[in-house]
Symmetry: C2
Subunit: 343 residues, 2 copies
């Protein structure tokens, strides 16, 4: 890899927009183009080699042509964009030097040009594995931090329920709940994950939702006195069951509804009246609204990592050509902890 | 009515518990018993003659045997209990004297004994029509006040939508919204109510939901830039339509879901994911949690009444024997403003 040389640039592109179905590997394609490793003009562009890419559930929304919320849909025929950790190859930007490690929005390809150096930050000075910047110190860790501590205002002794508890965000929320002095129970989709939650991640208890025939009864068993805080990652039947098990003044943090992304957002929740009876709050959030807390969050998390108070679980898939599979795994519930693509 | 004399005491009692249907007049019965107008023992009981009774939608929940939330179900064979305004006939309680006007929990009967004087307060000193104490200065006015000003934190210029806008609570919320400098649109179930909202209650606009075939499109028309605050009184299809029309950082105050009480709480809301995309909050509340604000509320409301800044609409039904009909009217959407039973 010599500056000025022409190299193969492998990329992952969206082939077609989804309608209501789950994403499949065949919705994406691997395309190789030629790239000359140089930067032209007087822009502040940065040329990076991508090291780690972050497949995240929200990206499924961007695979729908009709999606018109906080992000536009992906463009067909262009590399998928997402968060990553990258190494600087060439820089026209004063804040980034060759060999710096940066994190932020990049593209699913071997090399990317970050226009004007926008949306990236230098993380070379951190003494942590680089992949942490798309996980525990990145958006998923930050989402757990803001969505649990800010939205739910947990108090010592409260009863916390986390769905997809072994996922990228969930496995952090549970640990934050324990650090706050709460009792925390998680749900996951396999016995292995349940074991992981109980033995490695400090969850007080956990269950495999796939083996439960009556989720309302299950939650009643794990929370005989009700749920103070529900950290919601799935939607659908689990949300309905949690609503029926709320305690007075409960708080529900709506982080995601992965069951609903895949099904096209159609499952009806019939018991919202519980929010009145229990004087409860349900709040959706996007991490973009909490950027003013990012420094506080990173300090908190780095300090707890140093003290071994936080366990990080990563699920690493190697090779850009395996990125579509790594993405699809999220919707099959196959990942434990943060799904990471290592290039 | 002489103290010590025996009089007829007419009462309204629940004959049977409801299952999923709307309440009907035949679910209640009028029973007349004999009562001697005296108080015995060294209790702090108060004997009152009821002047005004308040039929409120939440009471429907207490007509279901299985209801286990903030109030227990009514007891069959005993007079229905609810809020009222009454005149003191006899008092063993130092805070209440004969002829005082009190308000609080009483029973649907001509005369009631308020055990220990619990749950009532003296309102003799107010220079307002007594019925106001179960309306604009009572729970419905207070519900509008706390549910709108506390839960929604309205800001000048915001877009407010109120369902059952011509109802007991709704007709006050709209006026509070205007006093706060918001634009407010209401929905109601008849053209007469829509007219009332626009001409008497200061609503910027209003529509008859019964003549709309596509509520989502209707709200889009009235709120082209979206809804900042939704004051929710009905649930069901209207909530679904509002969710699809939220603005970023919207707040939904869940005051009631009258469409759901009657149908047994079964209508599924499929688009809660909008709460995430719009980073919106939905919060249920019961006025009991805001009692610390009652004095502030009453001062606010009395002052605005004096300045003619608040218009009070009451829908008065005369005669205790007509109380079942007055209650049923609430679920038929027949009342405009606060439904009151005058004895």
């Amino acid at each position: 890899m010599t500056v000025g040389s022409t190299v193969d640039n492998i990329s992952i592109r969206l082939r077609r927009y989804l309608t209501n179905e789950q994403p499949a590997e065949s919705d994406m394609e691997v395309v190789t183009t030629k790239l000359t490793l140089c930067l032209t003009g007087d822009t502040q562009d940065v040329l990076v080699q991508n090291l780690y890419l972050s497949p995240d559930p929200y990206m499924c929304n961007r695979m729908r042509e009709t999606f018109d919320s906080y992000f536009p849909p992906f463009e067909l025929g262009k590399p998928i964009t997402g968060l990553g950790v990258s190494k600087v190859i060439l820089s026209n930007h004063p804040e980034f030097q060759v060999n710096d490690i940066i994190t932020g929005f990049t593209s699913w390809e071997t090399y990317s040009v970050i226009k004007g150096g926008l949306g990236i930050r230098n993380v070379s000075h951190f003494d942590v594995p680089p992949s942490y910047h798309i996980g525990i110190l990145g958006i998923t860790g930050f989402t757990a931090y803001a969505g649990f501590l800010q939205i739910c205002s947990p108090k010592k002794g409260e009863q916390v329920f986390v769905s997809t508890a072994a996922g990228a965000v969930g496995h952090v929320v549970g640990q934050l709940a324990k650090l706050t002095g709460c009792r925390v129970v998680g749900s996951a989709g396999s016995d292995e994950k349940v074991e992981l939650l109980k033995t490695k991640l400090g969850y007080d208890d956990a269950f495999n939702y796939k083996t439960q025939s009556d989720l309302k009864a299950t939650l009643k068993r794990y929370f005989p006195e009700g749920i103070d805080i529900y950290f919601e990652n799935v939607g659908g039947k689990m949300l309905e069951a949690a609503l029926d098990n709320l305690r007075v003044h409960a708080r529900i943090s709506l982080c995601g509804m992965i069951s609903q992304y895949a099904s096209g957002c159609g499952e009806g929740i019939p018991n919202l009246i519980q929010l009145i009876w229990k004087r409860a709050k349900m709040q959706g959030f996007l991490i973009g609204d909490y950027m003013h807390l990012q420094e506080e969050f990173i300090n908190y998390m780095v300090s707890h990592l140093k003290d071994n108070k936080i366990t990080v679980i990563e699920d690493v898939v190697d090779g850009l050509e395996n990125a579509p599979g790594a993405f699809v795994r999220l919707f099959q519930g196959k990942n434990s902890g943060k799904q990471v693509i290592r290039l």
